[in-house]
Amino acid sequence: MSNNSTDISAGRLAPAVIEARGLAKRYKRRWALSDCTLAIPEGKVVGLVGPNGAGKTTLLHLAVGLLAPTSGHIAVLGQRPASGPAQLGRVGFVAQDTPTYATLSVADHLRLGAWLNPRWDRDLAERRIVQLGLDLGQQTRSLSGGQRAQLTLTMAIAKRPDLLLLDEPVASLDPLARREFLDGLTKIVADHGVSVVLSSHLVADLERVCDYLIVLVASRVQVAGEIKALLASHCRLTGPRRDPKSLPANVQLIEASHTDRQTTLVVRADGAVHDSAWTVESLSLEDLVLAYMGRAASTELGHRPASQDQP
């Protein structure tokens, strides 16, 4: 944590909740995150998507100050992550696998939250626990994965953060618990107007709740932006087989696939594609993400990082 906490979001109109410049993290010899430059605007629900080992956890851990960057800068809510109790108090974090103290009860965890967070909203926490039907006296070792996830989410929102960071919160949940969790999250966003960054390796999870997307593959940010804008600017072109290099200047190729007679391209187009040879189709979010993942996989072929998401 060698960077001085200069306010790198100063001078902007829409303040960024997370602003990263050239952010990188290396574990021994492996780069878990490289050259990450990002500005996530306030008030969004951001989906951070990528395959396992892409660097999602690393990015989130850098954002909550669990990790210090190897190089580059990151500011969260205008300050260095974990720079002090006030900064920590404004960021809620639910870690991967939602760790809790196995021998402490649900009530103990709420007490813990009240003791350690000056802005703790006791009513909110207790109301949510009652709504979820959790037994206050139960030790967390006997909770299901979904219940533990809900408990840690409750702890994260009862501290009344301005930014909520969730690391694969639904990865270990069954489909029903997954839907309940995401619905609960949507409600929290509606009620409290909190900014959220949520990581997942499944696009379907994110589509329900997110309005902003970051695709992270092989330790690099592939694309980031509003989901609406991304869907509007990307499309699939299908036509007779031809060289993708012959595309117009305002079209950027993301992924190409060919059969004997036909070429299918996923492109980013700043404006309409005027070429009658192509059939233009809109993309689903999943297709868009897969196209970026495919591109990253082909450029990084042979030296993809180990499929590990943790230090």
Binding site: H61, V64, G65, L66, L67, A68, A82, G84, P85, A86, L88, G89, V91, G92, F93, V94, A95, D97, P99, T100, Y101, A102, T103, L104, D108, R111, L112, G113, W115, L116, N117, P118, R119, T152, M155, A156, K159, P311
Partner: protein, 356 residues
């Protein structure tokens, strides 16, 4: 953060509290019996002239408890380091709960300060109280044995040094846990390094804490033994007289030597020329013999020899006087506390900079 640390530590604290209470009850009952025994027998034995029997009786009382208590005070700091220190941080790292704890509105520095401070203080209190009780319990026995300073086991199991040991062992455990990040290996490392630290300090550092005193004494022909150590290589043994050390109450005698007025030690060549008969008809080389084991004829030879040697040579004892007991207690406690503080600094730095 203090309340949270206490909530996590409550179970262990309760176990320690119950343990101390049980020990207190047992020691209160048996200890007052010992004190009574001392007051009625040893304290008045001089008038009855049966002091040997009285002290023997006192030292033989509660023999099992004596051993058990000395061993317990000896190992308690190590146990605190292993069971309270090592899992303190390693447990959180292993279970991943540090990611929950560090996501609260509490900085890492405060987290580690509270943990080390509260549990470390508790370790010192537990070890200190236990040592206090044991010191009181042993007070009649220690009065008779007068070995509080000279016995390394007794010294380390009385008064305040166990507090220093506990602080050191605890922080050692916590640091090992932070660095190794796994509870069981951290426990093993703590145990081994604590035992090594104690042995090194006891054998190498404690005797050098302050320069010993020397006291000269005349050789007593009736209280000087003879010993020789042979080596198969040199053939001829190294022969030496072994004077009985002078009586230094509560003192710690490092060694007794025989020197002349110029301070030169008695060599075996001088001894051989002064006492040519010594060792020839006597015991075989390779052993040390107290006077009682030596046959009568040899005793005469030895007696004459010591008288002859005593005209130019005298004994000198190198020792620490009993009055330095508290100097040693405070020094050793301070050194272990200082080492604990240095280790705590390492632990802070490691948790803030190196963990994750």
């Amino acid at each position: 953060m203090i309340r949270f640390t206490w909530r996590q530590f409550r179970g262990q604290a309760t176990v320690a509290g119950i343990g101390l209470a049980v020990v207190a009850i047992v020691l209160a009952i048996t200890g007052s019996h010992l004190a009574h025994l001392y007051d009625t027998t040893v304290a008045t034995c001089a008038t009855h002239g049966d002091c040997d029997a009285a002290t023997g009786n006192l030292l033989g009382a509660d023999k099992f408890l004596q051993t058990a208590l000395n061993v317990l005070v000896l190992v308690l700091p190590g146990l605190l380091g292993v069971f309270w220190g090592a899992p303190l941080i390693a447990g959180e790292l292993e279970a991943g709960t540090f990611r929950l704890a560090w996501a609260q509105s509490v900085t890492r520095t405060r987290w580690i300060t509270c943990k080390l401070g509260l549990v470390g203080l508790a370790s010192m209190v537990v070890s200190g109280l236990f040592s206090l009780m044991v010191t009181w319990w042993f007070s009649p026995i220690d009065l008779v044995q007068a070995n509080r300073l000279s016995s390394s086991i007794v010294f380390g199991a009385r008064d305040i040094v166990p507090i220093g040991y506990a602080a050191f062992a605890f922080v050692l455990g916590a640091s090992a846990g932070a660095i190794i990040r796994r509870t069981l290996p951290a426990m093993a490392t703590t145990l081994v390094s604590f035992v090594v630290a104690r042995i090194v300090f006891t054998t190498l550092i404690r005797p050098r804490l302050i320069a010993p005193l020397h006291r000269g004494f005349a050789l007593d022909p009736n209280a000087t033994g003879f010993g020789s150590s042979g080596s198969p290589l040199s053939g001829a043994g190294h022969a030496a007289l072994q004077p009985n050390p002078p009586d230094i109450p509560n003192g710690w005698i490092y060694s007794t030597d025989i020197i002349d007025k110029a301070g030169r030690p008695l060599t075996s060549q001088v001894l051989k020329s002064d006492c040519p008969l010594l060792g020839t008809s006597g015991p075989p080389a390779g052993g040390t013999h107290s006077r009682s084991e030596v046959p009568n004829g040899v005793q005469h030879v030895l007696h004459d020899c010591v008288v002859k040697v005593g005209t130019t040579y005298h004994g000198v004892a190198t020792y620490q006087p009993g009055s330095r007991y508290w100097y040693f207690q405070w020094s050793e406690t301070a050194i272990f506390l200082g080492a604990a503080i240095v280790l705590a600094g390492l632990c802070f730095w490691w948790v803030r900079r190196r963990v994750t």
